[in-house]
Point group: C3
Chain length 136, copies 3
């Protein structure tokens, strides 16, 4: 049982953005030498998230961000958090701060259309994503 | 440390549907011979999801699907994805494409009312769910 | 490879509440003696959830609960579940019943502002949270 941890650094450019990190995660898995196991993709921030969705057509992340913006407006009567980014905290809890991907035959077992996205909800900022790759 | 992977095949019959896969997952865990560990239930599709919720009363999945439909309509002004299934992609990211269940004494540690559901949001289709059972 | 399971007991006091369980989880991880690995925080209930978000300013959980209440009202025309808590089941599936946190150098790898919350959506009740700590 081997456990490898690696930190990715990400720079977002706008307030709300889904950044495709699939190739960075894939590359870390290849370099780990682990052939059967799994990879946790963990976001240590409370105004961002990790999600898996289609990365072939860029309109999919666009439509996900649009839906989140309509459901969770930047300013809502009743918000108490003084930093003015309550919407980002809500989106973070709804999408979740981590995803789990399986590793088989030394590569990520992603579906045909699946990509891994870092979701920025309070950018632009410099961010980190922690990968924990375990297996044999 | 033992790692067993198994693929389930699922056929959905309507566009939006929650299909109870608890017995299929339980059976795979029993056959694995693993007594202490965990099971990742992974959906490799971007218009479907995995969730855990009550499977005793079928009105619970009905009400979850109703809520998702009201929050995320099939057609929303501004959607750009040409396939017309942006709602399904959004629901997939909100519920998430995997769940993690613990294994103790050779069986799934589910709560009394918990069942595992494959959530179809763009059916009917033939789908796959990948189980990764690890432990000792 | 060591696997340790521990059950936390939690008493909620209102119908909707986010209860910070970070110190309980941290303490269980310290006592486990595991230095590199991960901890699954699993909620075996279908009207509650686990989430990770900011625990420094109590207005953040307030605003998350407010947003959930506005998106998913207690009573919605069309709900069929006879127990009258369909909203709680929906919130449970949206936030998810488990989270995964990494362990490095014998402690939880949480971000600076991250705390672990048990989310009650149908309280007050006595609840359980199962921790599964694995690693070396």
């Amino acid at each position: 049982m081997k456990i490898i941890e690696k930190t990715l650094t990400i720079s977002s450019r706008t307030r709300n953005e889904m950044i495709d990190i699939t190739s960075k995660v894939s590359s870390a898995v290849s370099k780990s030498g682990i052939s059967e196991g799994d990879c946790i993709i963990y976001c240590p921030h409370t105004t961002a998230a990790i999600t898996i969705n289609e990365n072939a057509d860029p309109s999919v992340p666009h439509d996900v961000l649009l839906t989140l913006a309509e459901l969770i407006p930047h300013h809502r009567p009743g918000y108490q958090h003084y930093e003015g980014n309550s919407d980002a905290h809500c989106k973070s809890s709804l999408l979740g701060c981590s995803e789990h991907v399986l590793i088989s035959a030394k590569s990520l077992t992603l579906g045909t259309w699946q990509g891994i996205f870092f979701c920025e909800f309070d950018g632009p900022r410099n961010r980190r994503v922690i990968l924990k790759i375990s297996g044999e």
